[in-house]
Structure formats: C-alpha cells, structure tokens
Amino acid sequence: MRDIAVVAFTQRQESAIPGESEVEFMVPLMEQAKQQVGLTQQEMGFTCSGSSDFLAGQAFSFVMTIDGTGPVPPISESHVEQDGAWALYEAWVKLQCGDIDTAFVYSYGKSSPGSLRDVLATQLDPYYVAPLWPDWYGLEALAARLMLEQGVVSEQQLAEIASRSREHAATNPHAVRRDRKSAADILLEEYVAEPLRPSDIPESADGGAVIVLAAGDRARELCDRPAWIRGIDHRSDAHTLGVRNLTSATSAVIAAQRAGVGNDKVDIAELHAPFSTSEALLISALGLDDRTVINPSGGALAANTMMASGLIRIGEAASRISAGEADRGVATATSGPCLQQNLVCVLEGE
C-alpha cells in the first residue's frame, strides 16, 4: 500500500447560499485549496467530485462545476452521486494504483432550493417505500424510538450529544447552529418527529468542501504535517429497512474494524452523524470512549451540507492533525437512511 495523505482542505457552509450558483461558490474553495499546496489543476493527477442534482433540482450541475476546475486541456476526472467522502475513496484507490501522486477531491450541496427532508425519500425502495413519501426525520425517528425503548440510548444521552455539538460548534466559524444550549433545556424542546427534538436533527446547510490528496514524499513536499490515511473502508447495509437492525450501525462496525480504528488511541473523531441518535450508534460502532474528543467541529448536527458533510469530517480531522492538535483521528461519512452505508477513515500525523 502507498502512503497517501490529506494535504489541503477548504470548506464553506452557510444556512443558505441563495445568491450564488454551485460553481460560483465552489471556485473560490477550489482556488484556495490549490493555493495551499501551490498546484495548478493541470498538476492534479486525478479529480473526483460528489454531488446530487436532486438537491437543487439543477440538472447537470456537476458538469457546470467541473468547468470551475479549469478542465482544459481535458483532465482525468470522475464523479460520484454520493457524499464527497466516496469521491475521496475513489481518488485514494486511483492513487494506490501508483501512476499518479496527487488528486483533487471536491463535493458540494445546495439543498435550500428544495425540501431536503422530502427529497431524500427519492433514495428509498421505489416499489414499497418511496411511493409513501416517508420523510427523512420520520424514518430516523422510527429508529430512534427503537433505540430508546430497547435501552440502547436514553433521551438524556441524546440531549447531551446535541448540547456538546452546539458547544463545539460555537467556536467553529463554518458551523451554522452555534448557539449553546444545555441538555436540560434541549429536553424541554417539543418534538419535531417524536422522539426526536429540534436539537436532535441536523441543521441544514448549503456549501461544499475541497481536499487535495498526495502520496509519499510528494505529500511531505506539499504540506508541513500531512494527515496520513492509515485505513479507509466503506460498507453498506441492506436497502430494505425491515431486515435491518436499526439499533446498531452494522456497516460502520465492519468498516471500522477494516480501517483499524481500534489499533491505537483515537484523539479526535469527526463522525458524520446527522442525528444525535446516529452519533450514539457511531460512537458505539467505532468503540470510542471518553478519551476521544467527539466532533470538535460540532459535526453534522451543527451544519449538514448534504453531499459534503462526510468529506468535511475527513477534512476537519485532517486539519487538526496537520495543525498538531491531534496525532490520530478517525472520520466517518454516511449515506442512505438510518446509517445504511458508512465510510470510516483513520488519519495520523507522523
């Protein structure tokens, strides 16, 4: 295996970016990331992006966004209709093949033109489930009640997760829900989708993120302290909700084992947990305890940029390692209803 590291990261998240098109708000992020490492687009060995046209209803937005990279003469590129963490995975595989040393990864989402809560119904089983249009919060609430009634987690614990997210987000300029709130006050909130309260559900954001990957000595040239990807794996649970155990993140358990999360201490964990319940399941799936700082950015509860939140988790963990604030971290990304699919990435400084 080649040593591959995150060497640059930029992000933008706001509650809504109505005045700019996707390509208009992504180009400055792309330029900043290239400036961080002093590379031009033509010096990137591979480019991979993640987005979904369903979010803004903008057909072929990903094609327009490729324009923003400066793709002439034609570049080697690919796109996934998934969170950018999976674009990063594809780039990592491409780098493992050995014929390139750098890769440019970005993803973005502009959910504000539509109703994300409803748009996500289109990812469900088209015969039995999607025609009923269950909304995103409703499905998560079904899992949440199972967790509570089976004693997997308590409402108090969920409120503490939500409160910690807001506490951490208060110092993250990229977070959206940044006002502090105690667990006791959160428990007084009225349900959005019983048993989920407003603080248990993600704060929706528009935005995007860019990551530059580099291999071996090239990474050391480009970055003072690269964040090395020591393990990365992704797994998917069944599509059919009825056959899944919704009180555990089975795919994350396997991905975490394969990525080697438990092989050493974990200083920080950036978990792509849109709901407080998702965070409780992921902490358990990864075997984390109170020695790990969970979601120092505030996580996806504080700003959930659909299609970029997972990539941002990797970037957040990597930038804390590069800044010397942590030596070893883990980041996750999720996709599908109720933590169906999970990617786990272990990062280390040297």
Binding site: V27, P113, P131
Partner: protein, 328 residues
C-alpha cells in the same frame, strides 16, 4: 451587488413506470385482490413485503405465502404535518408493522386521532383503499385492530398479474440562478444580451456562468453582446415534441455565434424556409414585444436572416484553444 435574489418556482416530475418482476408483481397483484403475500426464506421465516432475494444471504427466493392482515407496531413516530404525496392528508403515525405470520416489519401509515393513541406493541389491521390497482397505496394504511380485518389469503386464479407500477415523483423547488445568470436575466428584460470574459484567455462566454470553462478562473467582466451573429450549425426537426406544443415541425434549431462571442448558444431560426438555412447565415434576434418582456431567455423568440453576406467560417477549432480572444 445587493440586488434582490431572483427566484422562480421549479417543479421536477419523473413519471416513472417500473417493471415489477414476478415476486413484487405477485405481491402487488395480491394487494389489488385484498391479500398480503410474503416470501419464505430458507430458515422458514417470511419476508414481507417480499423480494426476489434474501437481503442477508442473497439467496434467490420464490415461495410466496400469505400473511395476516393484522399485526403489531414495533416502532412509530408522529407525522403532524403530512405532505401532499403521503398516505393521509390529516396527521397520522408512521410505523414499522410486523404482520402476523411475517418475520420482517413493513413501513406504513397508521391513522389514529393523535400520538397519544399510538404505542409500541399496539395491534393494528389493514385498511384497504376503496379503489385498488396493484400498488403499495392499495393499503390505505393501518387502523387500531377492531376485529374487522379481512381473512382473505387466496389470490383468485385467472386474475391478470401486475407487471408494472407507476411511481411518479414530483418535487418542488424555489430556483435561484446565482450571480452571473441573475445579471444575464435582468439584462434580458431590457433586450440586452450579456456574456462574461475569461480574464486569462479573453474568450467571451454566453450565457455567463461566472467562471471560465477553459481555465476555471472567476470571470469578473461582463460583456454586452449585440443581438446579431451567424449560424454555426443547425438541424431541422420534423417530429413533434410533446412538451413543446408551441413548436410546429418542421422547425430549425441552431447554434448561433453572436458577434464578439467565443461560443455559440441555442436558438430557433425563423422567418425562413428550413431548406434555405445554411451554416454561416447572418441572423438577428427576434424579440418579444416590449410589453411582454420578462427576466427570461425566452424573450428571444428566435433568429431571422439579416440578408447580409454569409460569414465565412474557417475557425471551427477556436473553442479548444486558449491562445486567442473572441471569434472575430
């Protein structure tokens, strides 16, 4: 720059018709006939609704068996503000319901007066739709079990099997065009056409997208283009398009290169016989009457010949080059 953000309603509809295959088709046929079928897994348990395969083992499944029309709520949540496409228009519960005889729960709606009437473990029965067509919505939803459940378990022989299902998708958005297209649309309402210039290559792109598609550089210079140009390429359409009843075949779609632009953009050629249209033909925009102008590219009804001498087009490769400016 502090102009109001332009918005427009945008509705996307996908009128999908999906083929079902034999297992899903049998289940939907059963629903139409008032029977609920599951499929047996190798351990003898019943997957309901049925799939062609076992999601755990990927084993192929084929033995359909009926399940009861009563069941138990294993988890639920309250939906206080139903959306138009959901099962009921008044508030209802979403629930995972384990039907008697089934080994896996199914998602559906439970109609009760309020969340206080819901509980895990409560018994419910199927409420059928009055008109059934072989669709998951043939089950209108579930209601508390009052002993009135049908006990039908036999799908009559000789009924027509469901082979496809309509699953229309409709999503509503509030579209915002972004910075550059907003300027373009505002100019359109004054019969002006804006492009943007690549600061590196000098090329002019229309419509403007705010970024040079050649270099990825942000374009900060808007360029006002004349409403004249030439036909770079064209086709004659002789088949009507359902979504555009306003277009009567034959009509000519063309790639029009405006004077001063580096790329063409799409338009209709009008006021000339299709057979007379040719590459290089000089054209000018035909605008809507002034009192009908909107912030829309549809203000240009089409392009008509100017009668000038044809453009001699020799430089078809200008798009891929970054060493020169506009086309003229």
């Amino acid at each position: 720059m502090a102009e109001e953000v332009l918005t427009a309603p945008l509705v996307l509809e996908y009128p999908f018709t999906r083929t079902t295959g034999p297992i899903i088709g049998s289940f939907l046929t059963g629903l139409r006939e008032g029977v609920i079928l599951g499929v047996k897994r190798s351990d003898g348990s019943v997957l309901c609704p049925p799939l062609e395969y076992d999601p755990d083992t990927s084993e192929e499944l084929s033995e359909l068996v009926p399940v009861q029309q009563t069941g138990t709520v294993i988890t639920w949540t309250w939906n206080g503000a139903p959306r138009p496409q959901q099962p009921f228009s008044r508030p209802f519960a979403w629930a995972m319901i384990l039907l008697d005889g089934a080994g896996t729960p199914m998602l559906h709606a439970v109609l009760v007066d309020g969340p206080e009437a819901m509980s895990t473990g409560m018994r419910v029965r199927v409420e059928w739709s009055s008109e059934r067509q072989g669709h998951i919505s043939d089950i209108a939803g579930f209601v508390p079990d009052d002993g009135a459940a049908s006990t039908a378990t036999e799908v009559p022989a000789e009924v027509e099997e469901v082979r496809s299902v309509r699953t229309p998708i409709r999503m509503e958005y509030t579209y915002t065009p972004g910075r550059s297209l907003s300027q373009y649309l505002r100019a359109m309402s004054e019969k002006r056409i804006l492009g943007d210039r690549c600061p590196t290559t000098g090329q002019v792109f229309v419509p403007p997208r705010g970024v040079s598609p050649m270099t990825g550089t942000i374009t900060d210079e808007m360029v006002e283009l004349p409403d004249t140009g030439y036909v770079e390429s064209f086709n004659v359409t002789r088949v009507p398009i359902k979504m555009r009843p306003d277009l009567t075949p034959p009509y000519v779609s063309a790639w029009i290169v405006l004077d001063g632009a580096s790329v063409g953009f799409m338009g209709l050629v009008m006021n000339i016989e299709p057979e007379a249209v040719r590459i290089g033909m000089r054209v000018r925009a035909v605008w809507k009457p002034d009192n009908e102008l909107e912030m829309s590219a549809q203000n240009i009804l089409g392009w008509e010949p100017t009668g000038e001498d044809d453009e001699v087009v020799t430089d078809y490769e200008r798009i891929g080059r970054v060493d020169q400016g506009g086309s003229q």
